[in-house]
Amino acid sequence: MTIDWWGIGLQALNVLILIWLLSRVLWKPVSQAIEQRRATAQATLDAADDAHTEADRRLASLNAAHANIAAERSALLKESSLKAEAQGRETLAQARQQAEALLSSAHDAITRESDLIRQQDTQHALSLAVAIATRLLAPLDNAAVHAAFRERLHHKITTLTRHERDALTGALQHAPAAKQPPAHPARGAEAAMTREIADTAPSGNVLSIITAAQLSATQQAELKDLLTRELAPLPSLRFEVEPALLGGVELRSAHFALNNSWQSDLSVLAKAFEAMPTPPSASSPRETQHVS
């Protein structure tokens, strides 16, 4: 057995060369291809992970946005509900207010109509009362009534102020009513019976004595005597008959009239009745509303 050292060395060199060559043309290229594919796959996986992460992030943001939208929707719905509720309350309040206004206006209309009807009834009642009084007073003793009214006239003349006396007798020519001194406060309702009647006053300086019925000569003389005694100097006197007076004696000059008759009394009473406050009706809707 011989060992060929040259052969060993040459074979070792051959194998070394083969190792070097194969590492260049086989192992490195294939391992690089594997590594490249692994890197590519890893990059793809990383990209997929990134995409997945991005998708998760977007999903989270979308969920957050969805939650925000839902919260905003809830808030808007709540706000709309509150607005609608407030608007409903406001509308209801307006409707109630309008209804109350309508009710109040209706009540006022009813009240006015009731007042008007009451006034008409009062007028009718007054007219009826005057008619009844006229019927009742017509058959009375004319002389006694006249005497009573003459005494009453005498009393009224004594309570006249100086200015009124001048206006009655014509001593005060064209005296404006606004410049009259105020009536004596003690006279009360009787002062309201004096009035100016420039439109119906007889022309000239005449003092008209008006009665409801024709006076007798005696009665006229008594009146002239009374007036002369109380109002001298007198202007020219003139007796007139006015049945509407029902009874009584009235003095009328160009600027002043002294009422003293049942007609004026009834007129005063009617005015007093008209001026009286109307009592509220028991079944007033306003009272009913207050009760409810």
Partner: protein, 284 residues
């Protein structure tokens, strides 16, 4: 038939005798390089069958390196893979009529064993440094230095003898049977020779890998261990955690070797890594 223990020179290149084994080796080298060059042209990201076969070869080699030695296969891939491919093709070349496999000659096997011996030293120094590699011979203690050196020589020699004996005997038996029997009688033996060639190539490559990896690991362990021989011994016997706590900051984590060439097993923490275990494997 010439003696397999002798090699006749066909011609000389200067002082260098060129034998048939060298010529066959050159042809094998040319075939391997040309085939590899032709097959690795135009590698694409999406592999075809050719590229898939190449990647399967490389991936299988990487898996074997990783599962056998527990190390990263990149530094050893070219050396171990080329050894396997060359020995496999050289063994299979005996099937060609008139071709004698180069591995049936002592010079080729000795050259391969010499390359493994040198590569063990090379990778040991590269992995653990000169100091670490030299200190690995003093493990578990300095008394073992001669025995460890002798073990390095004998395991390399055993690789050479194993490969040469198996291949040469196969060729010899087939030649004898072919000379005695008919034309078709040696075919079963040739099929058996195919299996033998494959197994021998695998064993040679795996043993080379195991020797290299164990040398690197022992060199690193010796470099990182305490000079206390008791600690080193206990650590090498696998029952010592005494230096683990003390030198944990200086320890380089090296996966333990699991030299199981035929049936790769998953790594365990109690694998023996001494030279005795490798010797037992090589004797198998």
């Amino acid at each position: 038939m010439n003696s397999p223990l002798t090699s006749e020179a066909l011609f000389h290149l200067g002082p260098v005798p060129i034998t048939a084994a060298i010529i066959t080796t050159w042809v094998i080298m040319a075939v391997l390089v040309a085939g590899a060059w032709g097959m690795t042209r135009r590698l694409t990201l999406i592999p075809d069958r050719r590229q898939a076969a190449l990647e399967l070869l490389v991936s299988t080699l990487d898996v074997q390196i990783r599962e056998t030695s527990g190390v990263e296969p990149t530094p050893y891939r070219s050396f171990i893979g080329t050894l396997f491919l060359f020995i496999l093709v050289a063994n299979l070349s005996s099937l060609l009529p008139g071709v004698e496999p180069p591995t049936a000659q002592m010079e080729t096997d000795a050259a391969l064993a010499l390359l493994v011996f040198v590569s063990i030293i090379w990778f040991g120094i590269r992995g653990a440094g000169v100091k670490g590699y030299l200190k690995s011979f003093a493990a578990p203690n300095v008394v073992m230095i001669p025995l460890n050196i002798l073990e390095s020589l004998t395991r390399t020699f055993s690789m050479f003898v194993r490969l040469f004996g198996n291949v040469m005997s196969g060729v010899f038996v087939i030649g004898i049977v072919a000379s005695l029997a008919g034309l078709l009688v040696p075919i079963p033996l040739m099929a058996l020779d195919l299996l033998t060639g494959l197994v021998q190539a695998y064993i040679f490559a795996i043993l080379a890998l195991v020797f290299i990896a164990s040398t690197v690991e022992e060199g690193r362990a010796s470099f990182n261990s305490e000079p206390d021989s008791r600690t080193s011994a206990s650590a090498r016997n696998g029952d010592g955690d005494g230096d683990k706590d003390k030198d944990s900051a200086h320890q380089t984590v090296v996966p333990p070797l699991t030299p199981q060439p035929l049936t790769p097993q998953p790594l365990t923490s109690q694998q023996p890594t001494s030279r005795t275990s490798t010797s037992q494997q090589e004797n198998s």
